[in-house]
Amino acid sequence: MGFRAAVVRFPGSNCDQDVLTAAKRAGAEAYFVWHRDTDLQHADAVLLPGGFSYGDYLRSGAIARFSPIMQEVKRHADRGAPVLGICNGFQILCEAGLLPGALMRNARLSFASRPVTVRIERTATAFTSAYRQGQLVTMPVAHGDGRFTADEETMKRIQGEDLVIGRYVGQDGAPARGGENPNGSIDDIAGLCSPSGAIVGLMPHPDRAADPALGNTSGLGFFSSMLQVVAGR
């Protein structure tokens, strides 16, 4: 049996097909599970796609975390198995307490939809091991609530435990200036991981940068990384 990747569909998910296609391109046996399902069908990894689950009611990701499948995703995560949350998926992981902090309304209120440059800060994770430390990766963002926020104590833990997987930077890798950080996130954080590196969340869309037809495959590494995890076991 190959590497099995479950892509969770919530009502309002809209990047589910992109994520499925990217995971397949990376070599995974990817398949959809519905938010009402209670079985991940022996998934090796769970992928939470972007979109507007439950219409972003109350707060982005706040309702999705109570869906039946999320109880299974938590069990899967508690076993130390890989979970990737992209955009709305990242918001769901923060709301579910699987990653620290929260994602607030973008600093300039605008819905940010454009390519950004992200510097990979940690490669010891289930989804970034295909990259080099410091590698610059260009991926699109498309979100209104992407400003990562955490209190001082949590930020100390994030820095102390090396939980930042990527930061927004300029195209030359210099610290982000002006709109290069598209949402005003604290410390230019684009994505985070759990201490073990099994759970990863990020606002940019590697799934939209994983197809040669789109002229950019630099995000494919997030999906090929998860296969290396099992190969290395």
Partner: protein
């Protein structure tokens, strides 16, 4: 007893509130120079069955901690009245 509960959820003081800022600057454009400290949150009303006002408030507090407010970014106020 049925209690009518109003929950006011507000962005935590000190965190950047771009919506509040945008509303404030719009008020200034309209000539309301006296307006400052604008913040925008949300209000949630609900009816709660409880034996006492204190019990109703305690239950709603738990609802806030578990769902209605984000503990990282928001604070809340609860007002309880007999329905």
């Amino acid at each position: 007893m049925t209690y009518r509960v109003l929950v006011r959820v507000m962005p935590r003081v000190g965190l950047l509130d771009p919506q509040g800022q945008a509303i404030e600057s719009a008020l200034h454009v309209l000539g309301f120079a006296e307006a400052s400290g604008v913040h925008m949150g949300k209000s949630i009303t609900l009816d709660v069955q409880a034996k006492s006002r204190d019990e109703a408030e305690a239950r709603v507090r738990t609802m806030c901690d578990k769902l209605l407010a984000n503990p990282v970014t928001e604070d809340y106020l609860i007002e309880v009245e007999e329905a």
